[in-house]
């Protein structure tokens, strides 16, 4: 009896070990307490899962760094290496390695003096142009002079530089115009319009859902908002083109509003990011403790005063973060602008004009039949890096705001 009891409850050090208590005191009614086994047990499953979770986290960080590296490298090469762009201007006749004066056809883009051009592997420097006759230095920049056949086209040398990139107002890489401002302003105008639409609507929705809505209204509205977040962006794009644009044209006149325009795309992106603003803001508002609302009501505040002057300020950090996240979503949004805001960079501040945003430009260049290693193709990495830097800055600002203004509620 006694032995059975012991076997069930304690771990015996070894099979032959004497059970001291029962030997020393055979008549004991209460079994003497044994020391608990506190040895560390190996927990294989815990370890495996631990490792797996670490790998998942590591992978996502690794991928992020990979993307940044690739983007940074390509952009660096874009600014460091010389770029070549075809002039579509062919040689009129065969030339030999020593010939410094020769004829080209009249077709293609005009050539310029004191510029470098490339024919096959050889770089030439044009000293003078007389009609279709060129006077050049052969074998420029340590390249090897060689014979070239008639019909080969000249490629112009382009040298993008960072200052021009940031301050230039014309974007046409194949013509040596590397100013990103037209793309940048278009992006800012479209996201600006989106924010102007989304923030008031989203905030009002959040305040209504968190402070006014009955549980029933809340349970009906919230899923609908979430459906809004689930609509594919390409659908939004066509909504902008086939509904919003005609609407704008009928309001402001077809003369003022282009068929492709930034306003339409911006408004629709505003609708697209509205659920982000409203759900994240509502979470922030709901996190404000009840006691603060009660304190406000107890002072004789109305519902509106309580909502706008106590709850919203108390949730400020969360709301600001929601707005900034929505803004970076708007900046990065591609499909709507690709469909509705027009193709081709346009340096303008008029939202009713067509203009290409950075994302729209990237998608048009990379989706077209542009050949790898052409100037246009290389340039989109620089545009992409610019985009990345913008959203990164916004994220950093958002984190700063959250940290600066966060109130910790128990």
């Amino acid at each position: 009896m006694n032995k059975t009891y012991l076997r069930l409850t304690v771990r015996k050090p070894s099979l032959n070990a004497p059970i001291v208590a029962s030997q020393s005191d055979p008549n004991a009614k209460v079994p003497v307490q044994q020391m608990p086994d506190l040895r560390r047990r190996p927990r294989l499953r815990e370890l495996t899962i631990n490792g797996f979770l670490f790998l998942c986290g590591f992978l996502s960080i690794f991928i992020t760094f990979g993307i940044v590296y690739e983007l940074g490298k390509e952009s660096f090469l874009f600014f460091r290496n010389r770029q070549w762009s075809s002039t579509n201007k062919p040689l009129a006749a065969d030339i030999n390695p020593e010939q410094t004066v020769f004829e080209v056809e009249a077709s293609g883009t005009p050539l310029q003096t004191d510029m470098n051009y490339r024919i096959e592997g050889e770089i030439i420097h044009i000293d003078a142009i007389d009609g279709t006759s060129l006077t050049v230095q052969r074998g420029f920049d340590d390249s090897q002079p060689a014979a070239h056949r008639a019909g080969l086209t000249l490629e112009a040398e382009l040298r993008p530089n960072l200052l021009e990139f940031i301050t230039g107002t014309e974007w046409a890489p194949h013509n040596g115009k590397f100013g990103i401002l037209p793309l940048l302003t278009a992006t800012l105008i479209v996201s600006g319009v989106a924010i102007v639409v989304a923030v008031p609507l989203g905030l009002a929705t959040a305040v209504y859902l968190s402070e006014y809505a009955s549980p029933r209204a809340h349970n009906t509205l919230k899923p609908i908002l979430e459906i809004l977040a689930g609509v594919p962006t390409v659908v939004y794009g066509f909504f902008a083109l086939t509904f919003m644009t005609p609407l704008l044209r009928s309001i402001f006149g077809a003369d003022t509003v282009n068929i492709y325009n930034m306003a339409s795309a911006g408004i629709v992106i505003g609708i697209l990011i509205l659920p982000f603003v409203s759900t994240v803001s509502e979470d922030a508002l709901s996190a404000v403790p009840r006691s603060l609302r009660e304190a406000s009501y107890a002072l004789g505040a109305t519902r509106l005063e309580t909502a706008l002057r106590v709850v919203v300020p108390a949730a400020f950090s969360g709301i600001a973060a929601a707005i900034i996240l929505a803004a970076s979503r708007a900046i990065g949004e591609t499909m709507v602008v690709a469909i509705a805001s027009g193709a081709g960079p346009n340096f303008t501040f008029n939202p009713f004009e067509a203009a290409e945003t950075m994302t729209g430009h990237i998608v048009r260049i990379s989706g077209g039949d542009m050949s790898y290693n052409s100037v246009d193709y290389n340039s989109i990495f620089a545009v992409g890096l610019m985009l990345f830097v913008m959203t990164l800055i916004l994220n950093v600002i958002s984190q700063r705001i959250v940290r600066r203004f966060r109130e910790i509620y128990e």
């Binding site: 403790p289 002072l299 004789g300 109305t302 002057r309």
Partner: protein, 262 residues
């Protein structure tokens, strides 16, 4: 109920019942509160003390499922009549909550806020200073009025909440276990403050602490669950504190006060 009233109450509950949905949490309470006195409400947990307190101030109706029956007479009107504005009632009856809940605004703004939304048109700096002085907080905070109210200690926060409540010049101050989250020293300061405030205000305090009730109050109301098994909060006994704590009329009151249950 036994009390020495001349019938001139600051606020009076008249057959007041409070329901949470179908459940009647508080049953037919008749309670007349003496002006410029401290009335303590004591009783075991869950007997509806806080609910009564909230019902006196029209705070219950903010919760959708709650409704009240009976009357609360304040300023000559039943506050539950349809043409009485609950916002105005709430302004005239201040409240201090169990846990200090200052707004995440500056100390100055915490005090000024209530006055501002109620259209105060005087010298705000002076109001803030005099209010903080009445709440015995001025000396500790006068040089950091722009700091957040939440940066103060628990006891200071609670005094700030009292200041916030009296800044709108209410007629009555309700306190729902105001010291339960505070240490004995902070508690003592609040109790001293209550004594001072009772010169100008009618104070009703819910407390779990019998010694506190005995120390601070002039009148005591004892609530308990009804004995008919329906578990509704009922006013068992009400009278002057010195009588309640020395010669309670009912056995159940005596049992509670002497610590035999609750």
């Amino acid at each position: 109920m036994a009390n020495s009233s001349n019938g001139n109450y600051a606020i009076k509950a008249d057959k007041l019942s409070v329901y949470y949905g179908e459940f009647r949490a508080v049953r037919e309470v008749d309670l007349g509160i003496e002006p410029r006195r401290i009335t303590a409400i004591i009783g075991p947990s869950g007997c509806g003390k806080s609910t009564v307190l909230r019902a006196l101030k029209s705070l219950c109706e903010l919760i959708p499922s709650v409704h009240t029956e009976g009357k609360v007479v304040f300023g000559g009107r039943n506050i539950y009549e349809l043409d009485v504005d609950p916002v105005e009632v709430r302004r005239r009856i201040g409240m201090v909550f169990q846990k200090p809940n200052p707004f995440p605004k500056s100390i100055y703004e915490n005090v000024a806020w209530g006055a501002r939304i109620n259209g105060f048109k005087g010298d705000m700096d002076e109001l803030v200073e005099s209010t903080l002085k009445s709440a015995a907080l001025w000396d500790e905070v006068h040089d950091k009025l722009d700091q957040s109210g939440t940066s103060l200690s628990g006891g200071q926060q609670q005094r700030l909440c009292i200041a916030r409540a009296i800044a709108v010049k209410p007629d009555i101050i309700l306190m729902d276990e105001p010291c339960s989250a505070l240490d004995p020293i902070a508690t003592l300061r609040i109790e001293e403050l209550m004594h001072d405030l009772a010169k100008d205000y009618t104070i009703i305090i819910v407390t779990h602490n019998m010694q506190q009730a005995a120390r601070v109050s002039d009148f005591t109301a004892f609530f308990s669950l009804s004995e008919d098994g329906k578990r509704a909060g009922t006013l068992m006994e009400y009278g002057e504190t010195k009588h309640m704590f020395t010669r309670p009329e009912k056995k159940i009151t005596e049992d509670y006060i002497t610590g035999r249950f609750g």
